[in-house]
């Protein structure tokens, strides 16, 4: 104990040994405060929480710095659902004694579990709301709210008491009794709880008394009374006669109840089961249908893709086998090569095959290897074929069939461009056929390509003649 004046530790003397202040009354106050605290401890020990709280409040009125009293009061508040009041006490306690204070642990415990704190504070809010509903005569809503409160915090004493009060006002004594019993388990000597308990007991006793007296009076009404001497004999009702009838009635009622159960309970249940099965099957089929539809759509997509690919392939094939005749060109070239590779090749047949190949294709589109093979074959058979065409052309020339001779000489020149005679005879055939324009072209070609040869001299002479004629 410290001196209120100087804070020095007090001794057994009635004055402070440090400052000399009279501490007689002060010591009595502190002793009284401690006494209240001890009483509170005893009460809390037997779960008389409201009694303990009252003693602790008295203790703190005498000595506000009684840390243990504040901590215990906080615990009692917490135990009865008043979380915020509990926190208040612990905070004040910690403020008085910051170090080595168990209130610190309590606060830390609550702080470390925010979910629990939130639930407890929500319970407080809902309780206040329920109280508000009661004030507004919305008792049903209040009951719902209070049930929620108690589901969140089953130790909420005031909530139990309020719920019991509502049940009592509605004369639901059994429910009220249950709530009060729960409240009593939290706080064994709460005055309000005890008073409600007493009221409920009275009400239940009265109810039982009324029901028993009703039963008794009914029995008395049905009983037969007669006098035997001086005694009045009350004979209870003989139910023997009606027992058989009642048995039959009971059986009939039983059968009817059985039928009713079958019709109203079993049958709808079975119908419901069947409907559920059908619904399940419908769901399965619809799922299957959806799956199939998805498959069909996928297949349609695949068909579309394949069609596109087919069109592309056809287009590509068309490119190979179309107007340019690529495949045909290859076939002709192979045929020509195949004939040439025989032991005694028919050069005219080779020439015929090569002649069928489109020259435009060879010049513009054919790949290099195609051109190489083509030109090689042409070089190999060229002079021989050219000579053959030349001979035929001369035969036609000699019988003055100049137009035919022109064709053969053209073929001869195409197979061997170095054949000066074939070129000259071509020009001569044009001249004889009176196609002077082409004749001049080919005479000039002879002069240009073979300037030192006789054919060139003859060509020059023929050109002079043409000039003179013109």
């Amino acid at each position: 104990m410290e001196c209120f004046n100087c804070g020095c530790l007090l001794t057994e003397n009635e004055f402070c040994t440090n400052c000399g202040a009279d501490v007689r009354v002060y010591k009595k106050i502190i002793f009284a405060s401690n006494r209240y605290y001890n009483i509170a401890l005893e009460r809390a020990g037997v779960r008389d929480l409201s009694g303990a709280a009252e003693s602790l409040r008295q203790c703190l009125k005498l000595n506000k710095n009684h840390v243990e009293a504040r901590n215990l009061l906080g615990l009692i508040y917490y135990e009865t659902g008043e979380v915020v009041s509990a926190l208040n006490e612990w905070v004040m306690s910690k403020n008085i004694k910051p170090l080595k204070n168990i209130a610190d642990d309590y606060i830390e415990d609550i702080r470390s579990n925010p979910t629990q704190l939130d639930t407890l504070t929500q319970a407080v809010k809902k309780y206040n709301q329920a109280l508000n509903y009661c004030m507004q005569d919305s008792v049903d809503l209040a009951v719902i709210q209070l049930k929620k409160v108690l589901s969140m915090n089953s130790k909420y004493l005031q909530a139990h008491q309020l719920l019991a009060l509502i049940y009592m006002s509605q004369e639901e004594w059994d429910k009220a009794e249950k709530e009060i019993e729960k409240a009593l388990r939290i706080d064994t000597s709460n005055t309000l709880t005890m008073r409600y308990m007493k009221e409920i007991d009275i009400a239940i006793t009265q109810d039982e008394g009324r029901s028993q007296s009703k039963k008794k009076s009914k029995e008395e009404k049905n009983a037969k009374k007669y006098k035997s001497g001086n005694d009045t004999v009350i004979q209870p009702i003989n139910n023997k006669d009606s027992r058989g009838l009642s048995t039959i009635l009971n059986i009939i009622i039983g059968v009817l109840i059985g039928l009713a159960i079958a019709i109203f309970l079993i049958l709808p249940a079975r119908i419901q089961t069947e409907v559920a099965k059908v619904n399940e099957q419908v769901a399965e089929y619809s799922e299957l249908l959806t799956q199939k539809t998805a498959d069909v759509q996928e297949r349609e997509g695949q068909i579309e893709t394949l069609k596109e690919q087919l069109a592309q392939t056809e287009e590509a094939l068309e490119a190979y086998t179309g107007t340019d005749g690529t495949i045909a060109a290859y076939e002709q070239l192979l045929e020509a090569a195949s004939i040439y590779m025989q032991e005694e090749p028919d050069v005219m047949a080779v020439a015929d095959s090569l002649g069928k190949i489109d020259e435009t294709y060879v010049e513009q589109e054919a790949p290099d290897y195609f051109k190489s093979v083509y030109n090689e074959l042409l070089a190999l058979i060229g002079p021989e074929v050219s000579d053959s065409y030349y001979q035929t052309g001369m035969a036609e020339f000699n019988v003055q069939n100049y137009s035919e001779a022109i064709n053969y000489f053209l073929m001869a020149v195409s197979f061997d461009e170095t054949d000066s005679l074939a070129l000259y005879q071509l020009a001569e055939s044009y001249y004889r056929n009176e196609d002077l324009e082409n004749a001049v072209i080919y005479y000039n070609l002879v002069i240009e390509r073979f300037p030192g040869k006789n054919s060139a001299v003859n060509s020059r002479r023929r050109l002079n003649t043409i000039e003179q004629q013109q």
Binding site: F4, N5, A21, D22, V25, Y26, I29, I30, L60, K61, L62, N63, K64, N65, G81, E82, V83, V84, S85, L87, N88, V91, M92, T121, V124, K125, Y127, N128, L131, C134, M135, Q158, Q161, L162, L165, I166, M168, S169, L192, Y196, E199
Partner: protein
């Protein structure tokens, strides 16, 4: 017999967490020891 309306008046709203700070600061913490100290001080001043 219990009167519901009268009984209801005995129930008071619990302190909610939002009000905790206000309640803490507004609490009258004067105890008998404080009163005693005040009385002694006043007596000393009069002397």
């Amino acid at each position: 017999m219990i009167n519901f309306e009268e009984e209801l008046k005995k129930f008071h709203p619990s302190v909610e967490i939002e009000e905790a700070e206000d309640v803490l600061y507004s609490q009258d913490t004067t105890d008998l020891a404080d009163v005693l100290v005040d009385v002694i001080k006043e007596a000393q001043e009069e002397e």
